[in-house]
Symmetry: C2
Subunit: 183 residues, 2 copies
């Protein structure tokens, strides 16, 4: 797995065009393939977990995620902070909170000190519902990853950390724009 172009070193007649194209556009196929596989695996696992959350608990991944955030914050969280932690938009949180409140899993309250804000907390019912879901959930994940050895898990974890660092640094700093004069 190094360069994708299939082996036709003999077809000389048209080869010049191909060569020119390849030189103008360096080969990114290994990275592309890696990304496509990463995406496929991630979607595969996610779809299965969504399916089970729906079948077993009649809930969804976003609601589960939101409850997971609340469980770690016994005193509740402001919506804005929730939106930051979940990495989704404010408006999105508004809707999720509305539905979870209807289900009785969480409650909203307005702090005395800032009447713009809304703080949400798990109800007792929500806390115990989440505990049940979280336990099964972690079992599902373990089941799906059961084909990996202990060292595979550790290795993948570390390498994905490297990848995350690569992505973060690539998105944090805007790409080198016109170091010299490539216009």
């Amino acid at each position: 797995m190094s360069t994708q172009s299939p082996d036709q070193p003999q077809a000389a007649a048209l080869a010049d065009d191909v060569t020119a194209i390849v030189e103008a556009h360096p080969d990114h196929s290994d990275e592309l393939r890696l990304w496509l596989r990463l995406l496929a695996v991630s979607n595969l696992i996610e779809a299965e977990i969504r399916r089970r959350l729906r079948e077993r608990f009649a809930t969804t991944l976003p609601r589960f995620d939101l409850m997971a955030q609340l469980e770690r914050a016994p005193d509740g969280i402001l919506l804005g902070e929730l939106s930051r932690r979940m990495m989704v938009s404010n408006g999105n949180v508004t809707g999720l909170v509305e539905r979870l409140a209807l289900e009785g899993h969480i409650v909203r309250e307005t702090p005395e000190t800032d009447r713009r804000a809304t703080r949400v907390r798990l109800t007792a019912e929500g806390r115990s519902a989440f505990a049940a879901m979280a336990e099964e959930h972690s079992g599902w994940v373990a089941e799906l990853l059961a084909g990996l050895g202990e060292s595979d898990v550790a290795d993948l974890y570390r390498r994905l950390g490297d990848l995350k660092a690569s992505v973060t640094s690539a998105t944090a700093a805007p790409p080198p724009q016109k170091p010299t004069g490539d216009a």
Copy 2:
């Protein structure tokens, strides 16, 4: 990173409860952590790519994916086949195709031999638009993964393949139910 439970082997008073719990619920935290990181990395990259597709080409990832499928099928694809290849529902494809057709990127036609079906193809405009997008897209991916060495890419690719196999085998065969009498 092996077992999560913090070390309090001395706290004997309450330890029995903890022990019982741990034995009843084996520790899955390493797998869980791996899954959360995989999901985070995947979402990070995906969000960046969606953002760039929107900014540079005023399009979306699903539309890009659909066009990518069509590009590999010069004679067009039936909607059902498209839905299978993209791993999304039929109804989803209906909407995507509608919007891409409005944009002039693709055309729909009904085969003479089966008037239930719809075959979609890229237009000439769609083909060249896709070529431009695909080239930038692969550059973005390479850029985001640039922090990884060549061997890192190959390693990750292989390990993700193992992971995919694990997930596939876990979801294909329903979990062992009553090993003896299910005949």
